[in-house]
């Protein structure tokens, strides 16, 4: 391997560089500001924006949560309509609408709304997320699906019921876990 002076020179250079690299890594301060600041900033930004979003959702939808607690379900739906006008595309409205319809016993509409919410934001079925709503979704699926199958048996070929069934299967699959 080391046949001439140039080989030995290369090897010495290699050893020296490895030693310097090791020294750099061992003696480097563990202070986060010295470690790839841009990456840290990005991670911090992502975490902050996630936490800010949760805080925003909690504050913005607080009236709906209060109305749900009081059992004022039609009022909660109206409030959700108002919020949806301000925040079109925000699927937290769909999630809470699913909750309202579940409490009203309208399981088809609950399933449809929850499926819309979970498709856009899988955090709702993630037990590690502060937005986790597995309990609600599980309750809707376990009560709604048997009813839905019975109705489909009575009305075979009903397109809208078939679509709701698909939504139910989707939610079942998400609740079952697996890769995303």
């Amino acid at each position: 391997m080391f046949q001439d002076r140039f080989d030995r020179l290369l090897f010495a250079g290699l050893l020296l560089t490895v030693a310097v690299l090791a020294g750099l890594l061992i003696t480097a301060p563990i202070d986060a500001s010295h470690v790839s600041g841009r990456v840290m900033d990005r991670q911090l930004e992502q975490e902050m924006s996630y936490q800010a979003r949760i805080a925003f959702l909690t504050r913005r939808y607080q009236p709906v949560i209060v109305q749900l607690g009081q059992g004022a379900l039609p009022e909660a739906l109206l409030t959700l309509e108002e919020i949806s006008r301000d925040l079109p595309g925000e699927v937290h409205s769909d999630l809470l609408r699913g909750d309202v319809f579940f409490r009203m016993g309208q399981l088809d509409r609950a399933l449809t709304n929850l499926a819309v919410a979970v498709r856009q934001n899988p955090d709702y079925v993630d037990s590690a997320s502060p937005l986790n709503q597995r309990q609600l979704i599980d309750a809707v699926v376990s009560q709604g699906m048997p009813q839905l199958r019975d109705r489909l048996r009575a009305q075979p070929g009903n397109r809208s019921l078939e679509q709701v069934l698909k939504d139910g299967y989707y939610l079942q699959s998400r609740l079952a876990g697996g890769c995303e």
């Binding site: 470690v35 840290m40 899988p122 997320s129 079952a176 697996g178 890769c179």
Partner: protein, 357 residues
């Protein structure tokens, strides 16, 4: 049509198959996502995210199993004097093939190992994928028999074969040192994982076994189509299925059904086409994603390039929204699978030795 029952290699293959099946199920019990105890394509997507190749915050984790496969294979190859640097056979087509292996797997939601793990857990939607894989392997074999060949590899400088094992050794350091630039999900599928040390040991054992036996799923299907029951690999696949079914039943993870299965969709045509692409590519480049990792570990630079392509593919499928979910297959995913088929058809035309055929 029966194998040589007294052959030691035959029993080693059976051991490798059953270990892959059983440990694949157990890793899900120990914390990996349901039915994804081992899924090379999912793990590649996770690892690509961890090194910053995509920004899906739910899919970032440097999976120790992948590191184990490569290093286990490398150590075993060195111990048994089978480590040999070789390469130079159509490098760029192999790199792109690696990316398309991940595309096909992502559209099905799982590599060939996960395909059978899903099936053995009672997921009937995997049947479309199995059919696709078998057809893909069969079409690939037709190509080979008609002269489609990426060319012979030749011995290379020993340093070349060390590159990919060295890269995964670096990943191992990153996994435990956790430098700031390596990303780890706190939510989503990537946050679900077995303890890192257990995953690593399982990876090392399976990597070593796969290196000794050459066991892989598409290789088993290929040999089964070519040699029937005389091939040890098809018995290895049988042992995998049996081991996984028993493990799923005993751990309560078996749930028979077509709908509501974990990490699965019901767009069967796209499951079929995704796995067809994977099967066909695997025959062309000599192994499924798992086998590429194992071959890269034993010094195969061509497989190493496929592995690099897989990492790039893992980044691309997440960044461009190609990966399927339980909701179904997206338009970019469908487009990517068809593009993969265009690619392999083109490669088959361009790399065909018509004189030999």
């Amino acid at each position: 049509m029966s194998p040589n029952w007294t052959d030691r290699h035959f029993w080693l293959v059976v051991l490798a198959g059953s270990a892959l099946g059983v440990l694949g199920v157990l890793l899900a019990v120990w914390g990996n996502p349901q039915n994804s105890g081992i899924c090379v394509s999912c793990f590649v997507e996770n690892s690509a995210g961890a090194i910053g190749l995509h920004d899906n915050q739910r899919m970032q984790y440097l999976r120790p199993e992948l590191i184990g496969f490569v290093i286990g294979s490398a150590v075993c190859a060195v111990l048994f004097r089978e480590f040999r640097s070789r390469g130079g056979s159509a490098p760029l087509p192999r790199l792109i093939s690696g990316a398309f292996l991940i595309v096909g797997s992502a559209v099905f939601i799982g590599c060939p190992i996960k395909l059978f793990l899903r099936f053995t857990a009672g997921d009937l939607s995997a049947i479309a994928g199995i059919l696709g894989l078998v057809v893909g392997v069969w079409v690939g074999l037709q190509g080979l028999s008609h002269g489609v060949d990426l060319g012979r590899s030749r011995d290379e400088n020993p340093g070349s074969g060390l590159m990919v094992p060295a890269l995964f050794l670096l990943f191992l350091v990153f996994l435990f040192a956790r430098p700031a630039f390596i990303l780890f999900s706190e939510r989503g599928g990537a946050a679900q994982h077995a303890p890192a040390l257990i995953s690593l040991v399982v990876g090392l054992v399976l990597g070593a076994l796969a290196q000794r036996t050459r066991f892989c799923i598409t290789g088993s299907v290929r040999d089964g189509l070519l040699m029937g029951g005389r091939s040890p690999l098809i018995w290895g696949l049988g042992a995998f299925v049996l081991g996984a079914v028993v493990a799923n039943l005993t751990t309560g993870q078996f749930q028979l059904g077509l709908y509501g299965q974990p990490g699965a969709h019901t767009e069967h045509i796209w499951s079929f086409l995704g796995m067809l692409l994977v099967g066909w590519l695997s025959v062309l480049i000599g192994g499924c994603p798992f086998r590429q990792l194992v071959k890269a570990g034993e010094g195969d630079v061509d497989a190493g390039l496929a592995v690099v392509g897989m990492l790039l593919g893992g980044g691309i499928v997440q960044s461009w929204g190609m990966a399927a979910t339980a909701a179904g297959v997206s338009l970019p995913g469908k487009t990517a699978v068809l593009s993969g088929l265009v690619f392999i058809l083109g490669i088959s035309l361009l790399f065909r030795d018509r004189v030999r055929a």
